[in-house]
């Protein structure tokens, strides 16, 4: 039996199943990160003093550039499939995965510096919320990279048999990746600049 609406849109929602599913998932993610951002605001306004200049702004700026670029390569991976350009798709998807790796390496370097200085989550409220927010975000990046890697290696076989369905899968993965990058776009100024 064939699963309906994997390629074409459902008449009632106007979306194919996976797109509706990922948006429902992203809604729950908004609530998760929204709760943590609210926690951050409440902790900060309630604190008599709040540390400034303790985080590495140049490294975080570099990481922001890496993630914005990875969103562009991700959308290009999808656009290449829409335009039936398989080789370009592979190139852009590989670039997205590598940029994800670069983000995590830079983040690990930043974490390593904090650990070497004895700046652990139990040392202050600021460090606790910093590690919680960036750690959870890092886990989301790893999740996105696992999905993208699957689509790059094993999942890519679907392009030969069901190209429209594979294009939809890449679009859904791209929506998740954009959400993860958007979270960082908010994390960067909140944690590093303000």
């Amino acid at each position: 039996m064939e699963i309906p609406y994997t390629i074409t849109a459902r008449p009632d929602t106007g979306l194919f199943n996976a797109k509706l599913g990922v948006w429902l998932f992203l809604t729950s993610e908004v609530m998760l990160f929204g709760a943590l951002f609210t926690t951050y605001i409440l902790l900060r306004v309630g604190a008599p003093t709040w540390p400034h200049g303790e985080l590495d702004v140049p490294l975080a700026t570099l990481n922001t550039a890496v993630l914005i670029t990875s969103s562009i390569t991700m959308v290009m991976a999808w656009a290449s499939l829409v335009l039936k350009e398989w080789k370009k798709h592979k190139l852009y998807l590989a670039a997205t995965i590598l940029l994800g790796v670069a983000f995590l390496v830079i983040k690990a370097f930043e974490y390593g510096h904090h650990f070497a200085e004895g700046e652990l989550p139990n040392k202050s409220t600021f460090l606790a919320i910093y590690f919680t927010l960036t750690g959870l975000h890092g886990l989301h990046v790893i999740g996105g990279m696992i999905v993208n890697s699957y689509l790059f290696f094993m999942g890519g076989k679907m392009w030969k048999t069901q190209p429209e369905r594979f294009t939809n899968r890449i679009e859904v993965a791209g929506l998740y990746w954009h959400f993860v990058d958007l979270v960082w776009i908010f994390l960067f100024p909140v944690l590093y600049l303000l």
Binding site: A9, K19, A65, I72, V75, A79, V82, H178, D181
Partner: protein, 68 residues
């Protein structure tokens, strides 16, 4: 919302971040007076403009794709 629409939203937020970061760098420059900080602010403005140009080109490239 399609990836196309979400990408345009993402690029718009990124442009705001780039311009906001430029403002933050100019504020820093007022304190430290380092030419490198001013160069960072200018680079951020250039990145913001480049993202806007990219956004328009992206829209033109995928004009036949739905926003839903």
């Amino acid at each position: 919302m399609s990836l196309k629409a979400f990408h345009i939203f993402f690029i718009s937020v990124s442009i705001l971040l780039a311009l906001g970061f430029a403002g933050w760098m100019i504020q820093e420059y007022a304190h430290d007076g380092k030419i490198l900080t001013l160069a960072g602010a200018l680079t951020s403005v250039v990145v913001g403009v480049a993202l806007a140009i990219y956004g328009f080109r992206f829209l033109r490239k995928l004009r036949h794709v739905s926003y839903l």
